[in-house]
């Protein structure tokens, strides 16, 4: 197995009117070929920004301040616009959160699929249609030929997300970034979509970066997890290890807060307070103001992400 994507010391800033805020702080991680990595965190933790920074589509006023994103021998952080365009949707595909919003309402499914192929390959329309139909079949959309002429509003939410997945498969990418792909869907549909994604990644040996707030979802689909808090990765390691025996106090708290883990009708373990906004991140460890293990060093020195005894990388002074 070789490394597919390697992010090192990435910093992403948001330039506001009065100041500049750091949304991603010194993040490093790798994804091996065919590996499925989950990025977990609460809203505002920077997980979506991380996903979009890989394909250089951070919404304004965000920008990459420093760091490298190595992908297939190229540093994406310093690619030209045209180089980047030819990678997006080609080697790296993206799946968005709300399938009701991601498809253009006035274009047919067929034209939205075809354009992706034709943006990256010199192929005829007939050939493009053939590939589109093949991929629609792959995501179990019945009577695919007819579907190409239909508009998005003629499909249900689950079907639309399948179409989005089919679009992301068109160019046989080596990495798919899925940003909360099932959050807008119902449980039964969510299970189907996750199942489908897992199946496709395994059969085509595709890398997957699954961005979500739902630990249970991540634990079912991925091999490794990165837990993000206030713009940094606080814990990174094997999914099985982390779900069984989390190390960082934040991950411990997060897992403890799940009703699944608690005895029925008993109080849940709750983390006090809220995640600080970007402007209010405390010095030292960003979690220090909510942490039960906090000591003096936590308030002054930022802990680095290090491999601990458990074999998990943790950014915490208190974990041995």
């Amino acid at each position: 197995m070789s490394t597919l994507l390697s992010i090192s010391r990435l910093n992403v800033d948001f330039a506001l009117r009065k100041s500049t805020l750091r949304a991603i702080n010194d993040v490093s991680l790798t994804i091996e070929e065919g590996e499925r990595l989950g990025v977990v965190g609460e809203s505002g933790a920077g997980k979506s920004v991380l996903g979009f920074s890989i394909i250089q589509l951070i919404s304004k006023p965000g920008f990459i301040a420093s760091g490298e994103i190595q992908f297939q021998g190229k540093n994406l952080a310093s690619c030209t616009y045209e180089e980047m365009r030819s990678i997006r949707g080609n080697q790296i595909s993206m799946i968005f959160q709300d399938p009701m919003m991601t498809l253009n309402p006035v274009l047919t499914i067929g034209s939205q699929m075809r354009e992706t192929l034709q943006a990256h390959r010199q192929i005829s329309t007939a050939e493009a249609d053939r590939i589109c139909i093949e991929k629609l079949k792959k995501v179990y959309i019945p009577s695919s030929e007819k579907r190409l002429k239909q508009f998005p509003h003629e499909f249900s939410g689950g079907m639309r997300q399948r179409i989005v997945i089919a679009i992301s498969l068109l160019t046989d990418p080596s990495l798919i970034i899925a940003d909360e792909p099932t959050t807008a869907l119902d449980v039964t549909i969510q299970a189907e979509i996750l199942d489908l994604m897992l199946e496709l990644c395994e059969s085509d040996n595709m890398g997957l970066m699954l961005i979500t707030h739902d630990l249970a979802v991540v634990s079912q689909v991925t091999q490794r997890i990165a837990v993000m808090y206030a713009g940094t990765i606080v814990e990174l390691g094997s999914t099985a290890l982390i779900t069984r025996d989390p190390q960082h106090p934040y991950t411990v708290g997060l897992l403890g807060a799940l009703p699944q883990r608690a005895a029925r009708s008993k109080r849940l373990n709750q983390i006090p307070g809220v995640m600080p906004g970007l402007a209010k991140i405390p010095p030292g460890c960003p979690f220090s103001n909510r942490c039960s293990l906090v000591e003096a060093i936590c308030r002054s020195t930022r802990p680095a992400l290090e491999t601990k005894q458990s074999g998990i990388q943790v950014a915490c002074h208190m974990v041995k």
Binding site: E42, S43, S156, G158, M159, D186, V187, T188, Q190, A191, E192, L194, D195, L198, H213, D214, L215, A216, V217, S219, Q220, T239, A240, T243, R244, G253, L254, L255, G256, A257, L258, P259, Q260, R261, A262, R264, S265, R267, L268, N269, Q270, I271, P272, V274, M275
Partner: protein, 344 residues
């Protein structure tokens, strides 16, 4: 009435009987014109949001209503709160029928029954301070209370929900989502109700905040002796917090029973599929696939509403609407297969 439902007992707080709620969304008569098969016809478009639902809520318990989006659970909650008049059926509060009362006659019941909403950003009026928001119900229902008494009450509820009483003059936008939800809960508590309808109270919150609010709701239930009707789509939350669960699909009640029993032994095929789809920490999926999509509530399938997706559907399911029947004394199921014993 029906065999499956317990007869009224004194400890029944709220009772819902054969509740039906339709919405007419066809608009003006010009909007109703349709052109089908060569002729123009008028067609009313009616959303059948809630179809013939009955269950009881006992004092002090938490009844959860679960179902996927569009199944009518929120409509049910709002109809129970008399925000929508039901098309038919009855709602009783402590044996008094309340669904046909005028706003004036309802006034007393408004102090007994309160509601908590889903969206902490939309549920607080952005132009009112916390004090205004919390004092409004008190002023309205107890105009004789003095300024000091009102103030005292507000401080009390704010402390109870964990908001610093010094923040009374602040506006909602100065609070985080979790804090707003606390204020929303505080507003429901100012009138000391017995019964609270919580419509997806934690769906819009982050995981760590969800736990805080769930804990708060459980604490308040103990301290204030509250009864909850808890609407949610999150089955693991429901399993944790409720005593009884009502599973809804397309406006109908599929299954109703004690939480523990229902979760360990689901009878209705839809409940089974729903439970199997919950993502469980550290396990791979083993969910039951349901074919097809949820039909629209405008054109309900005849017979059992679930038959279009049910893997076990037989001929009878296409024709006849199944009744809610209590089979084993613990859960009531609306399924021909369960009733006739050919399911499993």
């Amino acid at each position: 009435m029906k065999k499956g439902i317990e007869s009224m007992k004194t400890d029944v707080l709220v009772s819902i009987r054969n509740l039906v709620k339709y919405f007419d969304i066809s608009g003006g008569w010009l909007e109703q014109l349709r052109f089908t098969g060569g002729r123009i016809s008028r067609q009313e478009v009616i959303v059948k949001a809630v179809n013939d639902i009955s269950f009881d809520i006992l004092k002090g318990e938490t009844v959860a209503v679960v179902g996927e989006s569009g199944c009518g659970k929120s409509t049910l909650a709002r109809t129970v709160m008399s925000l929508y008049p039901p098309n038919s059926g009855e709602i009783y509060y402590q044996d008094k029928r309340i669904d046909q009362l005028s706003e004036k006659q309802l006034k007393y019941y408004r102090t007994r029954m309160q509601m908590i909403f889903q969206d902490p950003y939309a549920s607080l009026n952005p132009r009112m301070t916390v004090e205004d928001i919390l004092s409004e119900p008190i002023h309205f229902h107890h105009p004789s209370m003095t300024r000091e008494q009102v103030k005292e009450k507000i401080i009390k509820v704010m402390k109870q929900v964990g908001i610093d009483p010094d923040w009374q003059d602040r506006f909602p936008h100065e609070f985080s989502g979790g804090q707003r939800q606390r204020i929303s809960i505080a507003r429901a508590l100012t009138l000391d109700p017995d019964f609270i309808v919580a419509d997806e109270p934690i769906a819009a919150l982050d995981v760590s905040i969800q736990a805080q609010i769930l804990n708060l709701l459980m604490d308040l239930q103990q301290e204030n002796d509250l009864t909850y009707l808890f609407i949610s789509h999150d089955l693991s939350v429901v399993e944790h917090i409720s005593n009884k669960v009502a599973v809804m699909y397309l406006g109908s009640l599929c299954e109703f029973g004690e939480t523990e029993h229902l979760f360990s032994n689901p009878n209705h095929p839809y409940t089974q599929a729903l439970l199997s789809a919950i993502p469980k920490l550290g396990q791979r999926f083993s969910h039951t696939r349901l074919p097809g999509d949820v039909p629209t509530p405008i054109n309900l399938p005849p017979g059992c509403v679930f038959h279009t997706r049910c893997p076990y559907a037989r001929e009878i399911c296409f024709r006849q609407v199944p009744q809610l029947i209590k089979e084993d004394g613990k859960t009531a199921v609306a399924c021909h297969g369960a009733a006739e014993g050919w399911l499993k």
